[in-house]
Structures are given as structure tokens and as C-alpha cells.
Symmetry: C2
Subunit: 79 residues, 2 copies
Amino acid sequence: MKQYQIFVTGKQGIFDPAGKTAQNALDNLGYEGVADLKIGKFIQLSCDDSVSPEKVKEMCEKLLANPIIEDFRIEQTGA
Amino acid sequence: MKQYQIFVTGKQGIFDPAGKTAQNALDNLGYEGVADLKIGKFIQLSCDDSVSPEKVKEMCEKLLANPIIEDFRIEQTGA
């Protein structure tokens, strides 16, 4: 069984409403010093040994991320 | 400026509808061999040097994660 971790983040310059809202909320709660907060996706994938990293990249491009507004990074964590 | 990465994941046994939907969609697209897919949050935090890891943990407990159904892990990536 292979394990992959996928990090999906908004591209530079794309507005992140969830992150901005959380940042404002932290400010309202009295937490000072937060300069920037971005919220992306953290995907954990378990799959058969037959699934190659290239296949996972394809899954990201087609479904798990939106390549127009998001970047993604894939890490294999277990074989 | 300090940089933190926060990984928010559903606790064991908590149903993850987004993950299940993505897993089914991959199956429908013809990607075989995906045994499990979980979707969590990947938060990138930039803050002043005055913000300690303990403070970030507190932010997670109070706002960024829901400790009832989610676990979180904090990594400091830059000083």
C-alpha cells in the first residue's frame, strides 16, 4: 500500500476568502502579529502499489486541484 | 517573520464527506486502486517573531481547527 500526501494551495495573487476571514477572526479574538494566513487542502491518499506518482499527479490535475487557481505538491510518505 | 504550517485532519472514525466524494469521483473517472482518500486543511501562517508556537497551538484550538472532530499538527518552517 502506497501513501501520498498532497498539498493544494492557492496560486499567488488569488484571493483566499477563507484565509482572510480566519485572519480577521484571529484579530478580533485578540491574537496580534498574524501577517498572513492562507488555507489550502491537505489530502491523504492510500492506494495500491500499482498507482504511480505520475498517476497521482494526473488525479490532481483532473480532480483534486483546480490548476487554474491552485498549485499542488505531492509527497510519497510510505511504500 | 515566522512561518508555520498547520495540518488539520479529521479524527479517526469521523466521516469525511468531501474525501469520500472525491474518492468516488476518481473511481468514476477510471482511476483504480485508491483505497482511501481524506481531505483536511493545510494552513500557512506568517507572523511576527513575537508569536510563539504555544500561541499558534491556542489559535488552532480556538479557531483554526475543531478539536471535537479534528486533529492538528503544527510545523515551524521558517524563522
